[in-house]
Amino acid sequence: MIEHLPVLQIVIPLLGAPVCLLLRARGAVLVFATAVAWCTFAIALASIGIVLEQGEVVYALGGWVAPLGIEYRIDLLNAFVITVVSGVGAIVLPIGPGIHGHTVSASREYLYYAAFLLCMAGLLGVAITGDIFNVFVFLEISSLAAYTLVALGNQRRALRAAFSYLVMGTIGGTFVLIGIGFLYQMTGTLNMADLARLLPAVLDNRAVHAAFAFLLVGVGIKLAVFPLHQWLPNAYTYAPPAVSAFLAATATKVAYYLLLRLVFTIFGIGFVFGALGIAPLLQVISLAAMFIGALAAINQTDLKRLLAYSSVSQIGYMTLGLSFGSVAGLTGGLVHVANHALMKGGMFLAVACIVARTGTSAIADLRGLGRRMPATMAAFALGGLGLIGVPLTVGFISKWYLVLAAIEAGQMLLAFAILVSSLLAAVYVWRVVEVAWFQEPLQSAPHGEAPLRLLIPTWVLIGASLYFGVATDLTAGIAAQAAEQLLEVAR
């Protein structure tokens, strides 16, 4: 069965979703979906082991060898992303939709698990496939499932947020499709490796330039890169908190992976940074995201919205890492994919804990919660330290590589900007800490912690973010190797 692991990675969650519809019973679906998610995670761990040992793994669907057929191709880069996505999914899925504010009626909870598994299958599919049209198909599967999940939020505004997410996401998906169409027209192939082989001959063609522009903007919308991030704050704010945790940790990360694939594997670094010279543009956009996202986060009154704007800011770090086009920069960007997934996932879950107890995520209502819910608020604060980039947290590792890359490229100003934006992160994290610990609790503040079903996943993610801040061989080591591989191919 080992040789089938790449396809099982997708088939198991994809098959799990319809089985949830047939099972229906609340307990049975929860147990089954949890088993499916953990099984998917186990496969991802096995795959990354195989890739580390033997190098690239290729799987031809239907026995049709690429470029005729669709192939799944796992190298270190996507094995890394797949592990992050399935890991966060496995930890977040068992929380379920109902625990924080009854977002879904108990008799329809099975639909939540089905949508969750579909979203996971779609995100994993985007990462695993070596066929660019297949990327679009999986992107739509994951996006449609994500719109559904966002719409399950318990306020009516969740519907509006989901709808504008749908409109923006569909525009993004359409742009991606147009780009793919142009590429297909120019080369006659949809296989990524084949595209990389055929594209250099036609790189001067306007259609290829247009294809790149469409793909860049389309993926940029899915990635919520500034200024295409408008859908993100509302979607993350009004979605059920567990969904926010999952999407914040995975959906934008997969879009980032796609951007890396496009720039380094398909179009090649010579075209993107050489002929088109978009590095300065990317840097300006990244800086804008870092600063405007962080400044907006400082001004929020709602905890989830604060975290959402903080995500916009953190995505800026990732695209900044990409813009250097160097091993250090890519390592920084890539390791931040995993690190930000752990930190932000954990912090959104901490918000879920708060909402489960207090019913609100307004910052003003957090007064004194540090004393009433110490475990929850401690998790939030530790995650916040990670966002700032304090040593011994994962955030420090990411920023270390990014600053290193900036110095390496001789751009001291960028290195300085990274440090300054970290200070802004300190401001918005401190605002929450100050309210939670240094103010008297409200009369109505709850006594006692959030249910363990929420608290355990929160601490697993936050604990992992501390662990990988110290033991960096695993995340940063693999990210560095993946970055080297990516640049070798691009050369």
């Binding site: 089938h4 396809v7 098959l15 319809p18 089985v19 519809l21 047939l22 799987y59 239907g62 026995g63």
Partner: protein
């Protein structure tokens, strides 16, 4: 449209009712033709599913959502959505069990791969047809059911 009012209900209109009754079996039959002729000509599961669902939606429009739900209960629709996907993915799992790659239909018939491929695509397209028809009907019922709440 099915609300009582000064207008006659759709199913009280003789022409509509008779034409629909005569028409629907042919729509459903044509759907099956498109489904099974998909191997040899234009067509296939998606188109067939849409046509099949269109036939039933016509029935729902003329005779009301209640009548449609007596023909296809909402619960059955949900099961059908799942069954179609399971059939598709199940064929893939079966080919893996028989030693081929995922969706390598050739291994379904150990003597003649061409027969295996025929069987495989037939089952997969069947799965697509079932799910597409069920999803179309689900969308229609959920929108059609809204004004009754």
């Amino acid at each position: 449209m099915s609300d009582p009012g000064s207008h006659m209900r759709m199913h009280e209109k003789l022409v509509l009712r008779i034409v629909a009754k005569r028409f629907i079996p042919f729509v459903l039959l044509f759907a099956l033709y498109v489904q099974f002729h998909g191997d040899f000509g234009p067509g296939g599961g998606f188109q067939a599913g849409v046509i099949f669902a269109a036939g039933l939606i016509l029935y729902g429009m003329i005779f009301g959502l209640g009548a449609l739900h007596r023909v296809v209960p909402p619960r059955a629709l949900e099961v059908a959505v799942a069954i179609g996907v399971l059939l598709y993915a199940g064929v893939g799992v079966a080919t893996m069990m028989l030693g081929g790659n995922y969706l390598d239909y050739g291994v379904l018939d150990s003597h003649a791969p061409a027969h295996g491929q025929h069987l495989g695509i037939l089952l997969v397209e069947g799965g697509v047809g079932i799910t597409v028809a069920a999803v179309m009907l689900t969308i229609y019922s959920s929108f059609g059911g809204r004004e009754r709440e």
